[in-house]
């Protein structure tokens, strides 16, 4: 592991065990994230994006969620083997998470300043209470909120401001990695634009690495350095933003995603969506998991799961590109 690498995920398999069936949520995921880098994790509902993030935080639901196989190395510490006590020290300190819905991820009966200083209470044992108060004011200013409002409760804030509070909590201990799970999906576009430009600025200032989970390719183009496209628990394409947005070679699923977005710059009568639906995660198809929906499906695709075809920084998991 080089010093540049912050997170390395090797062959991760995550399942959810239910009474009747086993849900295969993540199937052999490999991923590295460098320090200070923003990686966009893109995919549709059920692709395994959130499960991947929860595995890194070790917040999978008890008994139901299970990491079957694989390693997650964060600064050379294997998270899959960490004890609950270890994890309490890692969460908030080295890794923190911003959840999708700012309305439900704040405690309604605690003031905003109490919620932010809770992180400091847990991780900054040597800080005096005056220092903590000062730190809270500082963080609030950083995310663009006035410190006068720190003694108010979440319901007194609008959606965009609540999301700023959640981001402030995530940044309180200046973690090395932030997992942002659709942080702007619940917000209006003008507010989304404000939050995105703020996150971009903060990331540069604090040199934090970030995994940005989203289904919106437009957001990805604005904020990410690298992009990984997920489908049925696998990364089927990964590359720099230029590889994904400017390179003509794509996994057929990625092309389908781009074809589904109404293009603001062109006049098109019809969209070209991907036909069919996501496969059932309890009963995944053999071979390439995309083959039942793929317009370019070949014989080999039905039998053999394709390996990674690497071209510089750009990796595509598809038989079309294997020589």
């Amino acid at each position: 592991m080089s010093t540049k690498t912050l997170v390395e995920i090797k062959d991760l398999h995550v399942v959810y065990n239910t009474d009747e069936k086993t849900v295969y949520a993540v199937n052999g995921l490999n991923l590295t994230i460098n320090r200070g880098e923003t990686l966009g994790l893109v995919g549709e509902t059920g692709a395994g994006k959130t499960t991947t993030a929860l595995s890194i935080m070790k917040l999978l639901p008890d008994r139901v969620g299970e990491i079957r196989q694989g390693k997650i190395l964060l600064d050379n510490i294997d998270i899959t083997r960490a004890t609950p006590a270890d994890m309490r020290l890692i969460r908030g300190e080295s890794v923190s998470m911003i959840f999708q819905d700012p309305m439900t991820s704040l405690n309604p009966i605690l003031t905003v300043s109490d919620q932010i200083s809770e992180v400091l209470d847990l991780h900054r044992l040597d800080m005096s209470s005056e220092e903590k108060i000062k730190k809270v004011d500082e963080i609030l200013k950083l995310v663009g909120l006035s410190a006068d409002r720190k003694n108010e409760y979440p319901h007194q804030f609008s959606g965009g401001m609540k999301q700023r509070v959640v981001i402030a909590m995530a940044l309180a201990c200046e973690p090395k990695l932030i997992l942002a799970d659709e942080p702007t999906t619940a917000l209006d576009v003008t507010i989304q634009a404000q939050i995105l430009s703020m996150m971009k600025e903060l990331k540069q200032r604090l040199n934090t690495a970030m995994i940005f989970i989203t289904h919106d390719l437009g957001v990805v183009a604005q904020i990410c350095d690298r992009v990984a496209i997920m489908y049925a628990g696998e990364i089927i394409e990964i590359g720099t933003t230029a590889d994904i947005f400017d390179n003509p070679n794509h996994h057929p699923y990625t092309s389908g995603l781009f074809g589904s977005i109404p293009d603001m710059t062109k006049v098109a009568k019809r969209l070209n969506p991907i036909e069919g639906l996501m496969p059932d995660p309890t009963d995944l198809p053999n071979g390439c998991k995309f083959h039942p929906r793929c317009p370019k499906c070949m014989e080999i695709c039905e039998a053999v799961n394709p390996g990674d075809n690497i071209d510089g920084t750009h990796t595509i998991k598809c038989h079309l590109f294997s020589q």
């Binding site: 209006d188 074809g259 977005i261 603001m264 969506p273």
Partner: protein, 316 residues
């Protein structure tokens, strides 16, 4: 010019709250020609859904008129309304909440027909249900399943089949694709456009997503805090947006391309102000980068700047 299919005149809806009147819809004038799609865009809380519901009389307006083929439907009694509802239908935003979980698909689709008694013969009714399912792309085997067994895209197809059951002329689509994934969203948009071509439907398409609006509508109305701030055809709006709010909204959309990056750096400050007892003047003035003193002095009317291009702004 012929009579538009739907026209609203001075439509207002105020909700009473303990703090005062909430101006959800404030003096909105719209026209929708037959066979066209009017896109209504705006952020949450701008009154776009309330407007859609008033037009269908699911909510009673505080003031104003809703004309359907030139007749004010607000004066209609219960019986006349039942008659006219066959022509006016709605597709709701959330396909999870708008279907009764205790009814099967065929019961859901047949319900409007049973209520309006347009088909009484049982066999004909069954045939009609199958025909509708085929139109919206639902497999016949799903006829006796319940909504919870299906995914969001299929559920939204049921909502569309139900709206089509009475062969309406006009459908209000209230964010029909917002809850869906992009690939499913594209399938549903294609379906709605095909149906319009085949049946000559008229849509009012409510959404917060400008790129969807551009794709599906001929005319667009931009709303801000209960008022229509700009109205024109879709091509002109995207080529030459005049109201500062429309410009900001267009700038805020993330574009899935690397080349258009610098454009989106312009960000409007602040958040939507309270719709309760709003102060006179332009409601966008508090956030507007080009606001001057006159903006807050008196109300700004929607004016025709160019032919067919209406803007409510003191700059013009």
């Amino acid at each position: 010019m012929s009579t538009p299919l739907i026209e609203t005149k001075g439509l207002k809806k105020y909700f009473k709250t303990p703090k005062g009147d909430l101006h959800a819809v404030d003096d909105v004038n719209l026209k929708i020609e037959k066979g066209n799609t009017l896109g209504v865009v705006g952020e949450s809380g701008c009154g776009k859904s309330t407007l859609g519901r008033i037009i269908l009389r699911l909510l009673e307006p505080t003031a104003g008129e809703v004309l359907y083929n030139g007749k004010n439907i607000l004066n209609y009694d219960r019986k006349q309304m039942l008659d006219i509802r066959k022509e006016l239908q709605i597709i709701f935003q959330d396909p999870y909440a708008s279907l009764n979980p205790r009814m099967t698909i065929s019961e859901i689709i047949a319900e409007p027909i049973k209520v309006c008694k347009t088909i009484t013969n049982k066999k004909e009714l069954n045939d009609k249900v199958f025909e509708l399912m085929e139109t919206v792309g639902l497999a016949e085997r799903l006829v006796n399943t319940y909504p919870h067994e299906l995914d969001g895209g299929r559920r939204q197809r049921i909502g569309i089949a139900r709206a089509l059951a009475l062969d309406p002329e006009f459908i209000v689509c209230d964010e029909p694709v917002s809850a869906l994934d992009v690939s499913i969203q594209a399938q549903i948009l294609n379906l709605l456009m095909d149906l319009q071509d085949q049946r000559g439907l008229t849509y009012m398409f409510i959404t917060h997503d400008l790129s969807v609006v551009k794709h599906i509508s001929k005319d667009v109305a931009v709303m801000y805090l209960g008022q229509c701030v700009e109205r024109t055809d879709s091509e002109t709006l995207f080529r030459n947006p005049l109201h500062p709010y429309t410009q900001a909204l267009l700038n805020a959309i993330p574009i899935p391309s690397l080349r258009s990056r610098p454009r989106s750096e312009l960000v409007i400050k602040g958040e939507i102000t309270s719709p309760i007892n709003p102060r006179p003047g332009c409601r966008f003035a508090a956030r507007c980068p080009r606001a001057t003193k006159i903006c807050t002095e008196h109300n700004v009317e929607l004016k025709e700047i160019e032919s067919g291009h209406f803007v409510a702004c003191t700059l013009y």
